[in-house]
Symmetry: D2
Subunit: 318 residues, 4 copies
Amino acid sequence: MEPIMDIAHLGHVEILTPKPEESLRFFTDVMGMTVSGRQGDSVYLRGWDDYERYSLQLTAAKTSGLGHAAFRCRSPQALERRVAALRAEGTEVWAHEGELGHGTGWRFRDPDGHVLELYYDTEWYAAPPERRPALKNQRERYPARGVNVRRLDHFNCLAVDVRACREFFERTLGFRCTERIELDNGVEVGMWLTATNKSYDMAYAREGNGVPGRLHHITFALDSREAILQAADTFLEAGVAIENGPHKHAIQQTFFLYVYEPGGNRVELAHAGARLILAPDWKTITWTEAERGKGQAWGLQMTESFRTYATPPLPEKT
Amino acid sequence: MEPIMDIAHLGHVEILTPKPEESLRFFTDVMGMTVSGRQGDSVYLRGWDDYERYSLQLTAAKTSGLGHAAFRCRSPQALERRVAALRAEGTEVWAHEGELGHGTGWRFRDPDGHVLELYYDTEWYAAPPERRPALKNQRERYPARGVNVRRLDHFNCLAVDVRACREFFERTLGFRCTERIELDNGVEVGMWLTATNKSYDMAYAREGNGVPGRLHHITFALDSREAILQAADTFLEAGVAIENGPHKHAIQQTFFLYVYEPGGNRVELAHAGARLILAPDWKTITWTEAERGKGQAWGLQMTESFRTYATPPLPEKT
Amino acid sequence: MEPIMDIAHLGHVEILTPKPEESLRFFTDVMGMTVSGRQGDSVYLRGWDDYERYSLQLTAAKTSGLGHAAFRCRSPQALERRVAALRAEGTEVWAHEGELGHGTGWRFRDPDGHVLELYYDTEWYAAPPERRPALKNQRERYPARGVNVRRLDHFNCLAVDVRACREFFERTLGFRCTERIELDNGVEVGMWLTATNKSYDMAYAREGNGVPGRLHHITFALDSREAILQAADTFLEAGVAIENGPHKHAIQQTFFLYVYEPGGNRVELAHAGARLILAPDWKTITWTEAERGKGQAWGLQMTESFRTYATPPLPEKT
Amino acid sequence: MEPIMDIAHLGHVEILTPKPEESLRFFTDVMGMTVSGRQGDSVYLRGWDDYERYSLQLTAAKTSGLGHAAFRCRSPQALERRVAALRAEGTEVWAHEGELGHGTGWRFRDPDGHVLELYYDTEWYAAPPERRPALKNQRERYPARGVNVRRLDHFNCLAVDVRACREFFERTLGFRCTERIELDNGVEVGMWLTATNKSYDMAYAREGNGVPGRLHHITFALDSREAILQAADTFLEAGVAIENGPHKHAIQQTFFLYVYEPGGNRVELAHAGARLILAPDWKTITWTEAERGKGQAWGLQMTESFRTYATPPLPEKT
């Protein structure tokens, strides 16, 4: 069977924040992103290399977590095919109109309840004069401010049934699984999916509390490992809580740094070096429980919070 | 019309060398590549992250230049479709059997006479025990030797008629042109084509001497700009002639370093940062003569040799 | 004879600018420096790791060039000894009072007429609350703005008689010459002097026009070569003219980038890696004309302007 | 009182290893050091930028630990003064003759029993033809092998009475304390001393087991943080046990990576960026127990082994 090539890339994610003003200052002043729109309770932001109008929708809400995540399809026909494939297996898909920056969003829920979206028509970002770049093959001026986020990279959700989610995305949207973790008892506790030459565009880890629909983190790409080290200092100076890193993941080998934005959502900065998945028939790497126990590439054991905390947070036990 | 997605990636290039032993020492000792096969007049080499058996075929010959360049297709059907498309417009395609590491190579000539190849079946590299990596999602051990070439990145040819070549690759193989140069007189003198999310997998520049079939350079990817700076010192110590760089290209924004291997072929090391072409409908950037005249991103003017030298070299005038 | 260890380090430089407002914006917005004082026609600035109140005095003037350069002595006694040594060989030394941030400055002219200063008492920088760093072993918060200049590194003057200047500084102040250039005809055309473990704190090159007292450039240190590459992009976006680099000097092996600030003075960013001069009896490296002709470490030939332009600029010929 | 400037720099350290062949392979193949001599039970090694014949003496022994550490004095007179100062307060100093590469070593014990050495006359390294560098201001060719250790940086011992050791080194040799840790109960548990512009040339931490004379680690300098990240991969591939890092120390802000060499001694790779102690009157930074509890700069908590393991190891309890 030939590979499905209908998803072009992750386009944007919407995260919810109970502290919208502080979150906005974090993403502009510390992360170095640009505001490119406002509508309703949302502010829209972008990294300097995102070609679309925005890659992050920040929405004021009562709690934190994922609003939705959206993939741009490769063509109008590709979009139609994927909507049809979703419906063919009984997934409800509804049209979401009026969102800033792109045409009709066709929304649906994954098996864990996260809201996802497919779209094709989009607005290319046009920088105002003061943010026009020196080189015409770039969308916006390098800001030289804060962390200098380049572009959205991926998002990572929790799911009660990771395997079901993986199979859903493979089957309906044509994602390929590059790496995964399977416990000795056969339970799948992690999976990384790609629709591009990046080694992952999304990832799911196991929700241990039985609560569906939660977000583990969203991730932005920087241009070098040195930039991530510089970012660690920028976070330190800005009083941003660093959770893990900088270090190198064993799985996917990404160089990473995890922090919390003021609204409570976990945010990752990542750099993949020159690593790409070029093989069209990449063979999924499956990590065992024992391999996973060795920690990250250079031995770091992640904090307990990395395994337990997600957004929205669980209600406190009484 | 929907995009053609049949080419998966550049698989390998064959370069000719009149000094096979010295060239081999360069690619192993200085570039840090591994020999993974020998057959006939050829030695086969690879970077530590190339997933196929090899990415470079080094062939002893009377002169230098390109032997052939080969693209892996996305599926057997994709391969059939591309061969059919080439033949449909009258291009001769012939089966090349018996090459190390992959199935039948379907070869043809581009409008400038360079030999290209399409294939699908391939041999995944299996590292011998002493070169097995610590992390199972990697094909081979990081060598910590010389320049530590990660993987083949792209190749760059000269062509008498650049435009004709571009249109040929777009039409028959579905390559997309991300950037190009057009002189004020309308002549196209450079073009960069991609079949992946890399911003280019191949590029052609104008041959000013009317001699078809020449090679400008082949390029390998390193993991950071710092690694390219370290490579510059490694080349300096090894007596390898540095031609241009390290510096940043204005076109494509690649960080680059150009040297000559002992056989006379130009070799580039490159790092793209986190730059990817994610837009499925990327709008080709066209650079004008005036813009091109400004030099590279930070102002470097390339050496005269960069515009005039290619392999095989021109016969000396008498 | 035992080495003289009386000069502790370069403390600050004063540069003149005919465009004080634009120069100030350059040093704050682009270079990422902080204003830490104003007095008369001068604004005082600092990098985030300079421990004294300031390292750069920017003075409005009719033209560009060096105001003065000041070295902090190791102790009050060391200061007395050096003033005495200068006077002992007939150099006029005068007390300069009332300058911001330090005690009496003992000023004198080098054989080429540049004004230099020695002092001991100094004001340690105390960051206001909003610029206090997270780590108490740092003077000021890492700004994450523009180029993020860390500290002043050295200055470079032109001199009609380079040898005379070198011998003057060696004899009176105890500077050691780490590297120098001598032409085949015996003329010394460049020299690098240190009073610390840095491989140079000041350098002089030959003035070819017979005009004394000119400045070639002042230099600030960044923390990595990657930071200098990032700075090149920051300059590109800000419209700052890049003159040479980024590249690696053959002499001293410093990784460098030269630009012009709006007032016309040349400014260098530099990173030395882990290179230090630890040997107390370092043997001066003398470069020949032929060696110098090979260009910089990786082959770059500096622009013509690098050899001809200094500040204040020469009057235009009529 | 004027500062004593008689110690020029740390010259070499001798470490003991019960596995001399494996240790040697580690320092040559993995660390990228060069063998520059053999004598008795010792092999002498150097990084490519060490100007003296060697910086590491590796001595076969029954157990691990520090043989001795040696400081080069600034002049013959400086050496005499320091020997006199040691003797003046009752410290036994004996002449050690016949060591490779330098003149008489004047040896003594610090209050914790570690053997230290002062010397002046030394042999400058002369590279054999195959290791001669391309640039004449460098002692040896950049090896492009393994970790590419540049030079020895510092050593770190344990001491039962840290304060006594600090005061001993300040008083007799003129070291300056740049940073220290003092518990709430007034006990000094860590101190960093310098005789140069490096922020430390040696450091002592508290020995919690009452056993004198142990070594915590020796440290080599690399040229960039990226080089240390690359080294982490090199160690991973070579099966070298990584203990802590890469990360940034809060104290001294050094970017670090700790591993164990086969003989059991802890070895650190470090990069200080452009950080130097230029102030001749640097005010010692004292860290409190609470500040220390926050972990390293970006939050890493060191492994338990970092606080408990040193060489030679303690006898196992029965």
